[in-house]
Symmetry: C2
Subunit: 276 residues, 2 copies
Amino acid sequence: MDQLKRNERIGAIMYILTSRPNEIFTYNYFSKMFNVKKPSISGDISIMKEIAKKLDIGKIETIPGANGGVKFLPKSRKGETEILLEDLCRRLSDGERIIPGGFIYMMDILYTPSIIRNIGKIFANEFNHKNIDYVVTVETKGIPIALMTADILNVPLIVIRKNTKITEGPTVNINYVSGSTKVIQTMSLSKKVLKEGSKVLVIDDFMKAGGTIKGINDMMNEFNAEVVGVGIFVSTKSPEKKLVDDYISLIQLEAVDEQNGKIYLKSNFEYLEQFK
Amino acid sequence: MDQLKRNERIGAIMYILTSRPNEIFTYNYFSKMFNVKKPSISGDISIMKEIAKKLDIGKIETIPGANGGVKFLPKSRKGETEILLEDLCRRLSDGERIIPGGFIYMMDILYTPSIIRNIGKIFANEFNHKNIDYVVTVETKGIPIALMTADILNVPLIVIRKNTKITEGPTVNINYVSGSTKVIQTMSLSKKVLKEGSKVLVIDDFMKAGGTIKGINDMMNEFNAEVVGVGIFVSTKSPEKKLVDDYISLIQLEAVDEQNGKIYLKSNFEYLEQFK
């Protein structure tokens, strides 16, 4: 490549780092790519750290040592996250979203990339220090937020199926009881999908009693994998006693008043560790 | 915000543009954010266009007029895409991936963000000129590549369910015949998910005879939506006559030799319009 001016090089490195979050790039990689000495790259990285700090867009981290280099973890700004969660509460509280049975329609939000990218950022920052190997979810509606989280953490996603599918080869199946409906269901996961001893982060869109999440925990036990965190987009206030204890939810569904067409939601922003 | 130096500002604008693909930002937005006059921003954008060209990472496009501004569409490099597709063919041709019935195990690839981000880029660039309103897929394995495509195009994703779910409210249901197994199945989509007259891009992971894609076409007809493109990750060579004519697939599955544990695949790189 032609030699770039410093400001061109900064734009270029910024793009590479931020478009592949949590991936480590060596100084050597950039040094070769731009045909300049390592101290110049080092200077560029310092400027970029300054930019990330001033804009409050995340952390550019330098990893020392032979396998060292530099990586970027994007973060949502505190103020913007607070507004985002409040805005989502407002949008989700629209009475027309009520679905008989105490559910609320959330698909438009769960499937809009610009929104769930931010949700993924929140989960990634909440659990980034746990050395996660995989993000795990169960089909279907939680897949997009789980994928966005996996994308930012730079780890593979694993999707547990609700029934055995012929296109996935040998599977491990477990039965679980939905905590709210008491119905016995089956979940299924391909045997070769997960390495033994992995650390996994469980992400899902909705939790009532926690039966599904408990089922995922049981499934992970079968694979000798450790669940190091659980992130839920919306959890219900009732039942207060869930089948899992340790989880983070972004929004609490306090009540659905079907008769009067009212939904009551509360942002859990204040409980997020990353903004404390 | 404190006044940034030009190279800091370039790094910052580069981040904002590239982390929110296909979103239009006005010069005014940046001018206010960085507290500098519009001609300076205009100069920054020119430098960034130069960077995008030199690095071959996509197009920074200026939109004139009152609603104008600047946006970024990321693109995979020609050489890298050619290598990526060949590498995927090689990895997918591992005999251990054979699943009885002529299927191949692809989950590890379909659920790895760093791979499917590139696949999303390929599809987005192939169909970007079609003014797409939504990306549509059917659950489950196609969701991640469909979401990545939707993310880059900056449009919502729509996921058709294989059965009616109580948590989605009133739905439109259609029956379709799987072209390869001849089994009648049902697909279901929430009534309120799609605006009439929309243009949609259909994305899926695998196509044999095309029965599922034809089902999606029929479903879109019910919503008076127009299918303006179909992108498939892997399509089979046989049957040669599919139930849909107009599609792009990235990889062709030529044959699965179950007896000898061999899979034959071919990259369709040469048919991609964006690299012609």
